[in-house]
Symmetry: C2
Subunit: 522 residues, 2 copies
């Protein structure tokens, strides 16, 4: 499968259909195909060779989506950069990937001069925003103007197309190498089943630099459907976009759904066009999905689980399992192996464990990465014995439903017992006053680690003395084993820190506690 083939097919079967909508700007698939072939020609004119890396540091926009297709059309490799990184981290990603082109929008124009001195390989900075082109930068539209559309590069489907960096919570960030086949195959495994069609309208509200939205970009494109793009997730803008453009499908992370479903006046928006909502990238508290099902009773919810290394989706919990009233006990699962994906759970010696036993989840499928960029040893370790080792602790029931118990590294070991933070968080979220929470391990002289909760209450409950530490702990005791209950609870009035992908940054929360400790990896 090739990315260029997808676009050419769309020009043929839905040429006059809308490909992208960004603000007032719209392009048909015929225009989209013309533009990406010009983008490839423009990049070639900058002297790029096949396989060269092109980085994008930008909020969501239609040119970002054009880069997703135009860069591989030219035989180059796209490197989407997390917009929440600090400058030294951005420098590292750009230098490590050896990117020769950096594309930025308005939001990052001011950062460029600050980091430029530290960039080892970037030769050209392309401005993909609107308005005047900043000095020293090349205009995106200018790149497209003076050239004829190029023929698609003669690439192989196994050629590297995307280099997504992962957070590197256990240390250094690393680039995940995904081929054209990896990303298109992943899209093909879920898009037709979820219901991506040529009349579908997908909302890009999750960040385009993240593979969760990235795979949906390929999904809506393989279906020849329409992409509505907003710069980033903001509840009112997202709800308005759904209403205005009759959005039918999207992928949000749980924190986005939580924010939108509690947005004042959410009931006044017409969300009836939303047929399919995918969610994933972090555990979904049951209370949040119940709330979403109340607000959007006509919507089918799909829980997707995966990781960048598998481009990314590995399992899906289908809509017919999202019915708490007739709960079959699968609601807390992230579903079954996606069609086309093989899964198993292994012990520390890489032997498959029986159903019900916790171990490391492993996967084998065509969406599994080529490897880590310039990290042959880490690649060999992650892909040992022919299986992707996800690093996620999980169990599988006898019907193949997978339950993620925790990131192996988010697991808390307290007094010799394994405590999975996700399970504790799920209990805390069931308290009506809780808006947001995170559970981490903090140092304890006797137990090694102690279960610690950080909680933010809903605005109305802020300062309510009846909802104190003891109330939260008592609430947990009514739901989970004593050894899992928090020993300490800390209240925050500020929102908890989020990663660019919308995940709570536990590394940040752990730092003050572990600053003096050896176990800094936590």
């Amino acid at each position: 499968m090739k990315i260029s083939s997808t676009v050419r097919r769309n020009m043929q079967v839905n040429g006059q259909g809308t490909a992208t909508i960004f603000g007032e700007r719209q392009h048909t698939w015929a225009q989209f195909g013309d533009r990406i072939a010009r983008l490839a020609a423009g990049l070639s004119g900058l002297g790029l060779d096949s396989g060269d890396r092109v980085a994008v540091l930008s909020l969501n926009n239609d040119r970002y989506m054009e880069s997703y297709f135009g860069v591989p059309w030219g035989g180059y490799v796209l490197v989407p950069i997390n917009t929440r990184l600090a400058p030294p981290e951005i420098e590292f990603w750009l230098n490590d990937s050896g990117s020769t082109v950096l594309m930025v929008d308005e939001a990052f124009v001011e950062m460029v001069p600050k980091i430029q001195a530290h960039l080892e390989t970037v030769k050209h900075v392309v401005f993909l925003g609107d308005g005047p082109v900043p000095k020293g930068m090349i205009s995106f539209e200018g790149l497209l103007e003076g050239v004829s559309p190029s023929e698609a590069a003669d690439t192989a489907s196994d050629d590297l197309a995307m280099l997504y960096y992962t957070g590197g919570t256990t240390g250094r960030s690393k680039g995940v190498m995904l081929s054209q086949h990896n990303v298109l195959y992943d899209a093909l495994l879920f898009a037709p089943t979820v219901g991506y069609r040529d009349h579908s309208v997908y909302l890009h509200a999750a960040p385009m630099f993240h593979i969760a939205d990235g795979t949906c970009t390929f999904a809506i494109a393989t279906a020849a459907g329409t992409s509505v793009i907003i710069p980033g997730f903001e509840p009112k803008a997202a709800l308005t976009a759904i209403q205005d453009h009759k959005v039918s499908v999207t992928l949000w992370v749980p924190t986005m759904i939580n924010m939108a479903m509690h947005y004042p006046g959410v009931e006044d928006f017409d969300l009836s066009s939303m047929v399919d909502m995918m969610y994933g990238a972090s555990p979904m508290p049951e209370a949040v999905v119940r709330r979403a099902m109340e607000v959007m009773p006509h919507t089918r919810f799909h829980h997707a689980y995966g990781q960048t290394e598998s481009a990314p989706i590995l399992t899906m919990l289908a809509p017919d399992r999202h019915i708490p009233d007739t709960d079959t006990g699968k609601f807390g699962s992230c579903g079954q192996a996606l069609l086309g994906v093989e899964l198993k759970i292994v012990d520390e010696d890489d032997n498959e464990v029986p159903a019900g036993t916790v171990g490391e989840l492993c996967a084998r499928a065509d969406n599994v990465m080529l490897g880590y960029w310039r990290q042959p040893e880490m690649t060999a370790f992650a892909l040992r014995n022919g299986w992707l080792h996800t690093g996620d602790g999980a169990r599988m029931d006898d019907e193949g439903f997978v339950y993620i118990v925790d990131r192996v590294k988010d697991m808390i070991i307290s007094g010799g017992e394994n405590v999975y933070s996700a399970e504790v968080e799920d209990a805390i979220y069931q308290h009506a006053a809780v808006a947001e929470c995170a559970v981490i391990g903090i140092p304890h002289d006797k137990w090694g680690e102690q279960v610690h909760a950080i909680v933010r209450l809903h605005d109305a409950q802020q300062g309510d003395k009846s909802v104190g530490e003891q109330a939260i702990v008592d609430h947990c005791h009514s739901l989970i084993a004593a050894f899992k209950c928090p020993r300490s609870v800390e209240f925050s009035t500020a929102p908890l820190p989020l990663s660019g992908a919308g995940k709570i940054l536990k590394t940040e929360l752990r730092k003050p506690f572990w600053a003096d400790q050896e176990k800094a990896v936590h």
Copy 2:
């Protein structure tokens, strides 16, 4: 993608679900997986090496389906044999493919001793029928009994898995080499969209030796659904199977639909379970599909077009185009490029032609064959410039809808079977009295087309009453399969009309027969 992965996933996600139903015999996916791993072990015990060919000559049954998966599980190649061939043709397929194992059911037991002396490579004959095992044959169940299930062979997804033979327009049959990836990818391109799910029930009524049913075999398997298998198409048996097993999806050729929809008492069958009916493999007269939509008003119809060389589906006309009352003019089209498939129409110099112009339909996608078995020159020609040249004349409108205007120039489609006129002509020419002949398709109410021969005898035999219609037909029966033999023979005393290049002008010969028909192109 690997065939073994599909089965392993099904054992995990739907192990207790029904995989196959054949008469009174049923197997779950857990049992199916166990049985195919034993079949692979049993074949290995016969001394087979990786890549060896295993041919099947049988009516439909559940063991045929097990062979579809067990043979590649062991790293071997399946060669499904057309059950309507004459013995010399079967010998050719077996020898050309170099098959070392031949599996037959009751229907072909008697043929084995007749052909065995001419078989150059077959070492073992396996009996996959029921009842006593014929002398000299190995019992299919016996192969499975004495062995432990084997691990799946360590094959690559691009390894050869299936060898389907097609009739050759230039005479000789050739083997189409399809990889594991080819066949699974094809299934993945249509199965989720058409609605193959784990609760789907597929009816194998079309012959399992043909790739039309073959791709649906992979489709229902990737979805972890259920296969109901009947020995072959017979209207009452097929309608009864739909009713009894609540069949939800199937693929029939138009003649099957025609026969079933006009079966006396068809209205008395409960066909309400049938959600999706695919049809293809020959042109569908509009009256037939209208009749089918009357009898099965709740069914969604999908018109599939393709060829063995593309494993096989290239286009699909979706259900929303099957509404004659609100006809959008697309009803006579075979639809648009399947998601994941690129199509173009080219002139004789391989240049793409504008919309509306007739040329040769070409395709590029992951379901395109590896090539023709041991025919590197024919392979290079069929796949020249990186595209599969279908040999089908077609035009495409400006929305990408494909209209086949002339099948491979001289091919006749009679009752869903492809008859290559050159092959029939070859047989007729072997009659000593024949000076010249041409074989064409003429309209037939039931079969779509009928094989018709126009013959000019040598001057000395002109008027010889011993060389009449029956003599020519009898002569053909001694050389080729019954379905290929002419149903009518016309004698001409004048030379047949020739083109400037000296080729017989079949278009001229067809004209009087098709003058009153819509499909004048034939």
